[in-house]
């Protein structure tokens, strides 16, 4: 299935892009991150991230469906 992925901050720099559409068989955000970490060599471990699906915080074990927009969220630092 096709997913839309956005990258921010350190992950944007490490991925070398701010978004992409990806054809994947990853069933969950956790699976997806494992796939992406192999592709881009992200230095952040999954334990350090949160994940959002369709602009809401999500569980890592949520079942993804075609067209979902996924964002991995590095440690925040507003203000």
């Amino acid at each position: 299935m096709q997913l839309k992925i956005q990258y921010y901050a350190l992950m944007r720099e490490q991925a070398g892009r701010s978004e992409e559409s990806l054809e994947t068989s990853a069933a969950t955000p956790a699976d997806l991150y494992d796939e992406l970490i192999r592709r881009y060599g992200f230095t952040l471990t999954r334990e350090q991230l949160k994940v959002a699906v369709n602009s809401e915080f999500s569980d890592w074990s949520r079942r993804l469906t075609a067209g979902d927009a996924v964002v991995f969220i590095p440690p925040v630092a507003g203000g």
Binding site: Y8, T43, A52, S55
Partner: protein, 150 residues
């Protein structure tokens, strides 16, 4: 909207006006300014970026929580994104209430929660030429500083 982003300087005069209330006797505001140092490094400028769609939702939830938890009149938070220089205002929070104690409590609650929960990131640029994403230094297995001259 009680939480919003701006690409340009935060207009605190206008923002404060939104909190005016004849029943309010106290008004507390917080401003976050870009400091010239952080954790031993000399900072020269900053870049802020946000996952705005989610950030606005989460920011609104924080302000709504503050309004539920504390008996205040109005509250508002504005966060700037983009490139900022020293002394620039990165974030503003304002709260008006009948009595001052609640305004202090609510204002502090909002900025504390925003800093912990809202998907905003800042990259510091240092006099040394290094730069780094704040709060990611402990996250990375490898050093977080990108050596501009490496």
């Amino acid at each position: 909207m009680r939480f919003r982003f701006t690409q340009t300087a935060i207009d605190t005069t206008q923002a404060r006006r939104e909190l005016l209330d004849l029943g309010a006797g106290g008004y507390v505001s917080f401003e976050g300014w870009v400091r010239d140092h952080n954790e031993g490094q000399e900072v020269t400028r900053l870049e802020y970026e946000a996952f705005q769609e989610l950030a606005v939702k989460e920011g609104e939830r924080i302000v709504a929580e503050a309004l539920r938890r504390f008996p205040v009149k109005h509250a508002l938070c504005i966060h700037r994104v983009g490139a900022l220089g020293l002394s620039d205002m990165a974030v503003w929070v304002g709260v008006s209430s009948a009595h001052r104690g609640e305004a202090f409590d609510a204002c502090r609650f909002i900025i504390d929660e925003v800093k912990h929960r809202v998907p905003i990131w800042k990259k510091e640029h240092y006099r040394s030429g290094d730069s780094g994403w704040v709060n990611c230094e402990r996250c990375a297995a490898t050093p977080h500083h990108t050596h501009a001259h490496a």
